[in-house]
């Protein structure tokens, strides 16, 4: 019996122990790259598999590249999105593939872990010069380029014109016309009355506010109220500022009219009037609602309307070794206008190059999603959020995993009814303690 009762502890120890074995092996290596110094003509690639259309487009691009030349063969491995970041984190640098995808805010942490190499001499100058501002910013850390992106994303407020008309609410179309917090609250009330579900909006609750989605979707509310997550590697007095507390009180007050969207299709089915989500939903929404779909800026809490950006992007790892040139050539291929056009056709993202953006039917002048492109044209960093800028990137710091994890926990608690001040105080302390333990993540 005693052996049986000890089982849970074994499970704990086993689980942690295994992860530690992984961590240990990560500590051991460093210099010896698994790819031979000569280059073996095989470029291993890891990418996330989220939306089906996106993964299919990438597979088609890889197949096309392999058919187009004979020197290099690209081997693509798709990893489910929910496990992707932790998989890369738990893999030692020498076991990584030659080329890997990463979500924008995780880039600095992978640089700190020596899992990325600077791309300035790896990809062509043309690829670097052609990037749009948002992609350039997301890929730069300590004045060096570590990542290039095929596309960027935008966050916006989508409306159902029929329901807006029924409630007598006018939809803003430009950033200057964005609803104020007061108008937004009143409109939610009006729209809830005319919406079949009795609720007005979907805030993406079903994606989980404790996960990365929570940080991505609520930071525009903070920025728009004059707050931000961290400044100069410190959260005390920044994350728990009066602006942020006020912003999240406002955000939590919307819960009354928020639909939990358990079906996943409340907005396209016309059950609710508004949804707060990104450009990637455009294909679904426009197919369901057609002409009734309207895109609006997020509400302005005082410091101008803001929107998050930063999406999946590509980097080269130290494991590439002698295959670096081949890896760079493959990335150049991915970032050609033709490849990007095929990718954004699948995921409706904002094209990541200026030339592809200009020619885009969706994002070009007069296109239905032009607002997202306009937002990205005035991008700024989360350390200095001005009244004018609209698209703001999440903090680029190696400590980001702790920042988003602590903030996400606070967010979930606040949504559940906890006191915003107390939750943000606690999150700020956790973040600062983590930075202190790691010497401020100074990359010595």
């Amino acid at each position: 019996m005693s052996a049986r009762t000890r089982r849970p502890s074994r499970a704990v120890v086993l689980g942690t122990g295994l992860s530690m074995a992984v961590a240990l092996s990560a500590c051991g290596g460093g210099e010896s790259a698994s790819g031979s110094a000569e280059g073996d003509g095989v470029v291993e690639v890891w990418a996330h598999s989220g939306q089906e259309a996106e993964a299919e487009a990438l597979e088609a691009l890889v197949a096309e590249y392999n058919d187009s030349q004979e020197d290099v063969s690209v081997e693509l491995t798709l990893i489910p999105e929910s496990d992707y970041t932790s998989t890369v984190q738990a893999t030692s640098a020498e076991d990584l593939p030659d080329v890997m995808e990463m979500d924008a805010p995780t880039m600095a942490s992978f640089v700190y872990d020596r899992k990325l190499v600077p791309l300035d001499d790896v990809v062509s100058q043309e690829t670097l010069d052609n990037r749009i501002e948002g992609v350039r910013e997301s890929g730069t850390y300590q004045d060096q380029t570590y990542a290039v992106g095929m596309f960027d994303v935008g966050l916006g407020l989508w409306g159902n014109q029929q329901l807006l008309d029924a409630a007598g609410v006018d939809a803003p179309t430009t950033a200057d016309e964005a609803w104020t917090a007061e108008e937004f609250g009143q409109n939610l009330q009006k729209l809830a009355e005319v919406s079949p579900s009795g609720n007005a909006i979907d805030l993406g609750e079903a994606n989980g506010f404790a996960a990365e989605w929570g940080t991505f979707t609520t930071t525009p509310v903070l920025w728009s109220n004059g707050g931000t997550l961290i400044r100069d590697g410190s959260a005390e007095g920044v994350l728990n500022s009066a602006e942020n507390v006020e912003a999240l009180e406002e955000w939590a007050s919307w819960k009354e009219h928020t639909d939990p969207n358990t079906s996943g299709t409340a907005f396209p089915d016309g059950d609710i009037a508004l949804t707060w989500t990104g450009n990637w939903m455009y294909p679904t929404f426009s197919e369901a609602l057609g002409e009734d779909l309207v895109l609006m800026p997020l509400p302005d809490l005082g410091n101008g309307t803001k929107a998050g950006h930063g999406s999946w992007q590509w980097g080269v790892t130290p494991a590439a070794g002698g295959d670096e040139a081949a890896a760079g050539a493959f990335l150049d291929f991915l970032h050609s206008d033709e490849s990007i056009a095929r990718m954004v056709e699948a995921n409706a993202a904002v094209p990541g190059t200026t030339s592809a953006l200009e020619g885009s039917e969706l994002y070009g002048e007069g296109g239905p999603l032009e607002l997202f492109a306009t937002n990205l044209a005035s991008a700024c960093s989360s350390e200095e959020v001005t009244q004018e800028c609209i698209a703001v990137a999440r903090p680029i710091t190696p400590g980001y995993p702790t920042v988003t994890s602590s903030y996400g926990s606070a967010l979930a608690a606040i949504w559940g009814g906890a006191d915003p001040q107390a939750e943000l105080d606690s999150a700020a302390r956790a973040i600062d303690a983590d930075f202190e333990d790691n010497n401020g993540y100074q990359d010595e």
Binding site: M1, S2, A3, R4, T5, R6, R7, P8, R10, A11, V12, V13, L14, T16, G17, S19, M20, A21, A23, L24, A26, C27, G29, G30, V88, Q89, A90, T91, S92, A93, S109, Y112, D113, R114, S197, G198, N199, E205, N207, G208, F209, A210, D259, P260, T262, P401, T402, S405, S406, S409, A412, W415, G416, G417, S426, R429, A433, D434, D437, N438
Partner: protein, 324 residues
Amino acid sequence: MTTTPGLAAPASAPEDVPVAPPRRGLRRDGLAGPLMAGPAVLLLVLFVAVPFFAAVGFSFYNVRLGDPRDPTFMGLTQYARIFTDPDVSSRFLSALLHNLVFAAVVVPVQTALALALAMLVQKSIPGIGIFRSVYFLPVVFPIALVALIWRLILARGDDGLLNALLGFFSGGAFGGQDWLGSELTALASVIVLSIWQGVGFQMVILLAALQQVPADLYEAARLDRANAWQRFVHVTLPGINTTLVFVALYTMILSLRVFDQIYVLARSGGGLNEDATRTVMFEAVTSAFDENNIGRASAISVVFFVIVVVLSLVQRRATRERED
């Protein structure tokens, strides 16, 4: 720490058996026992002892997941934080409390419910196999799937199946409860769905035990004019006592390592109130894989190990007295 009844048995068993001459050689060398135990011991050392001692070691260092730098020595800082730092310790202690509340409710309730179900499906009427299968069905589902199903039942607002049902029967007077998000009902909701998922397994074990109670004992009890309740207390319960103890212990073990349903409901959009439901396993896993803090996760695991050892010693003593 690796003594199990299974390991001790092969070495001592031959003593009781009349010894057959050909086996003498092996016995004299004393090789049979160690040889047979070897593979199991090797695996236990590799997957239990080594990781455990590694965890103890890691807990003294600031080990980061994926960081190639040498970890810095922190001494007992991680342990001090678990017990004294207001943020870290409040999270750890509340996690521990949730584990204990979970166990305190689930062990008696689930065992009693499993027994009731087992007695219900013990009757041999036509089609009883269907009922047995239906009650057992949730056990076959992965707990992550169960969490997703219950997410729909417990969803807040009028969309939730439970809210819709309550609203219908109360004529709209009752509804709109946020079962998973509210501090008051979050843990209770997790307990309910965990029992729903797990009860079928205990039911099957208890059913097997019930069927082993000799029928003539019941017959004798009836002749003595014992009523149904007296037959239950004086024939059924003593007959399945050892199985009941096993089931309670087994449930206790599962309660201490509860993790999946909470992680799924909190992290994939169930809107579960994390502060009201986090468990020690949840805390260890999120420290390690969300915050990359292997050092703290190790310290939490080591402290939890000690707590579980103490609990199991207490339990062992209590059950021994009952078995004697």
